[in-house]
C-alpha cells in the first residue's frame, strides 16, 4: 500500500535512506541541486541500496530507467511525490 507523500515527507524518507547507507551524511547539508552521488560519495552499490530501502519503506519500485530522476535531492523529491500521488 503506497501512501501519497508531501515534499517534506518525501525529503525526510529519502534522507533517512541515504543516512542509513552513508552514515556520515549531515541531512541538513545536502545541497538540493548537486548530484547526490558525487556529493555524498555514493557508488552504484550504495545507490542501489538506497533504492532498495525506498522500496522497503515506501513500497515504490523505482525501475532502472528512472534512476536518472533520483540524481539530485530536488529531482528525487519531485519524483517520489509524483510516484506516490500516481499510485494512490
Amino acid at each position: 500500500m503506497i501512501t501519497a507523500l508531501t515534499p517534506d515527507e518525501a525529503r525526510s524518507a529519502l534522507l533517512e535512506a541515504i543516512c542509513a547507507i552513508a552514515p556520515e551524511t549531515e541531512p541538513g547539508s545536502v545541497l538540493p541541486d548537486r548530484p547526490l552521488r558525487e556529493q555524498l560519495d555514493l557508488d552504484s552499490f550504495d545507490f542501489l541500496n538506497v533504492i532498495i530501502r525506498l522500496h522497503e519503506r515506501l513500497g515504490i519500485d523505482v525501475p532502472e530507467r528512472d534512476y536518472g530522476e533520483l540524481g539530485t535531492l530536488k529531482s528525487a523529491v519531485d519524483y517520489l511525490v509524483r510516484r506516490t500521488a500516481a499510485a494512490r
Partner: protein, 394 residues
C-alpha cells in the same frame, strides 16, 4: 594435535591483535568455523579454522599482538590424543606472551626434537645472513621439515614485531590502513615487473541483455553491471592460467580455483580487495549476493580471514566515477589485476560505418615474470568474446 596459527591475512600483514575468542577450551569446532576475531591494519577480521576437532587450549589471550605464524590455540583432532599436563588459558597477557613465543606444545615424548639437526634451504640460509638472523631461532612449520625462505621471513617479521610491540589503536586505524596499502603497493612496484595492456570492448549487447533481465526482477534482485563482467573475467582466466595464482618462494603457483578479489573502496578513503570464492563457478545471482554481502561487510561489518588471505587475482572497477580506464597495481603475491572503467557511449567503427556503441575499456596489469604480452592479449580477447554472449554467462 593441530596448531591453529595466526594467519597471514594478506601479503603485507606481519602481525595481528587477537580481539576475541569465539570458542573456549573444550568446544568442538568444525572446518570453516569462525573461531576468533583479529584486528589487523585492515580492520577486524573474522578468522576461520580449517580443521575440525575440539579446542584443547587457547594459547593466546585477547588483547595480545601476535606475529603471523604463531600458535593461537591447540586443537585435538579426531584420533589425536591430548598431551599430558595441558595448561589452562593464560591468566594474563604477559603469561600468554610467554606461552605464545615458547616453542609450540612439543609433545613430551621421545619425538621431541631436543637435538634437532637444522636442515636449511640455500635461499633461507642466504636470506638469514642478509637479515643477520640466527637460524637456530627459526622454527619450521613441523619439527622435521627443512627451514624454508618463508620460515626465515616469518621469523624476521615476528622479531621486528616483538621489537616494536605497538598495539593497534582503533583511533589510528585509518593511518594503519594507509600504511598497509603503502607497504603492499611499494612491494608490488619494487618486486613485480608489470606489463600493461588495454582494449575497448563493445558492451552494447550486454547492456541491453542486462536491462531486459533487470526489468524482470524486483528492485532487491537486480544485477549491477559489474556482476556479469565479474563472471566473464573469472571465466576468461581459464584461458590464461598464468594470470590466476600466487608468486611464492621464487616461483608462480597457478590456482585451479578462481578466487576473485574485488577492490572495494571504504567510505572516506582506503580500500580492501577481499575474495569472492570460485567466481567462475557461480551464477550471476550468487555473484550479486556475494558482492552485496562483501560490500556490506566492508562498509559496516567484518571480513573473514579466508576472504582476505586467498584471492588469486583482483578486479578493480572504477566505472562509477566516470574514469575511462584504470590501470591497476598488482596486489602481491598475485600475478595480475584487471581494471574496468566507465561504460559510456562512444563513436565506434563497425563494418566500415561509424556507429554509437556502449563501450568499456578493460585493462590488464600482469607480472612479466609469469606471463608475456601475447598471453595477456589472449586473456583480453577471450574476455571480449565472452562479453558478446551475455546470455551464456548466467
Amino acid at each position: 594435535m593441530y596448531e591453529f596459527r595466526m594467519p597471514a591475512l594478506g601479503a603485507d600483514m606481519e602481525a595481528g591483535t587477537l580481539v576475541e575468542w569465539k570458542v573456549k577450551s573444550g568446544d568442538p569446532v568444525r572446518r570453516g568455523q569462525v573461531v576468533a576475531v583479529v584486528e589487523t591494519q585492515k580492520g577486524a577480521i573474522d578468522v576461520e579454522i580449517w580443521q575440525s576437532g575440539v579446542v584443547e587450549r587457547l594459547v593466546v589471550a585477547p588483547g595480545m599482538r601476535v606475529p603471523v605464524g604463531e600458535v593461537l590455540a591447540l586443537l585435538r583432532t579426531e584420533g589425536g590424543e591430548a598431551p599430558a599436563g595441558v595448561a589452562a588459558v593464560p591468566a594474563s597477557p604477559a603469561e600468554a606472551q610467554r606461552a605464545a613465543t615458547a616453542p609450540p606444545a612439543a609433545p613430551p615424548s621421545a619425538s621431541a626434537p631436543a637435538e634437532r639437526v637444522l636442515r636449511i634451504s640455500p635461499s633461507a640460509r642466504k636470506r638469514a645472513r642478509e637479515l643477520g638472523l640466527d637460524l637456530a631461532t627459526v622454527r619450521p612449520p613441523t619439527p622435521d621439515a627443512p627451514i624454508s625462505l618463508a620460515d626465515v621471513e616469518r621469523a624476521h617479521a615476528a622479531a621486528s614485531v616483538r621489537a616494536a610491540e605497538t598495539p593497534v589503536q582503533a583511533a589510528d586505524w585509518r593511518g594503519q590502513m594507509r600504511a598497509a596499502i603503502a607497504a603492499a603497493m611499494s612491494r608490488s612496484k619494487r618486486e613485480i615487473p608489470h606489463y600493461y595492456l588495454a582494449t575497448d570492448i563493445d558492451v552494447t549487447r550486454l547492456d541491453a541483455w542486462l536491462t531486459a533481465e533487470n526489468l524482470k526482477r524486483s528492485v532487491a534482485e537486480r544485477l549491477l553491471p559489474v556482476v556479469p563482467l565479474m563472471k566473464a573475467v573469472a571465466l576468461a582466466l581459464h584461458t590464461v592460467p598464468e594470470l590466476n595464482g600466487v608468486w611464492t618462494g621464487g616461483a608462480f603457483q597457478p590456482s585451479s580455483q578462481v578466487h576473485l578479489g574485488m577492490a572495494v573502496a571504504m567510505r572516506g578513503g582506503g580500500l580492501v580487495a577481499p575474495a569472492i570464492h570460485d567466481a567462475d563457478r557461480k551464477s550471476l545471482d550468487e555473484l550479486m549476493a556475494n558482492l552485496r554481502d562483501l560490500v556490506t561487510r566492508v562498509r559496516g561489518g567484518r571480513l573473514r580471514s579466508s576472504e582476505m588471505a586467498d584471492p588469486t587475482v583482483t578486479l578493480t572497477s572504477l566505472g562509477d566515477l566516470g574514469v575511462d580506464q584504470v590501470v591497476g597495481v598488482i596486489y602481491p603475491p598475485q600475478s595480475a589485476i584487471i581494471g574496468l572503467g566507465t561504460v559510456s557511449e562512444r563513436p565506434w567503427v563497425e563494418h566500415g560505418a561509424l556507429v554509437v556503441r556502449k563501450v568499456v575499456t578493460a585493462t590488464l596489469s600482469a607480472d612479466h615474470r609469469v606471463s608475456d604480452g601475447h598471453r595477456g592479449a589472449l586473456f583480453l580477447t577471450e574476455l571480449r568474446t565472452l562479453i558478446q554472449e551475455p546470455e551464456k554467462l548466467g
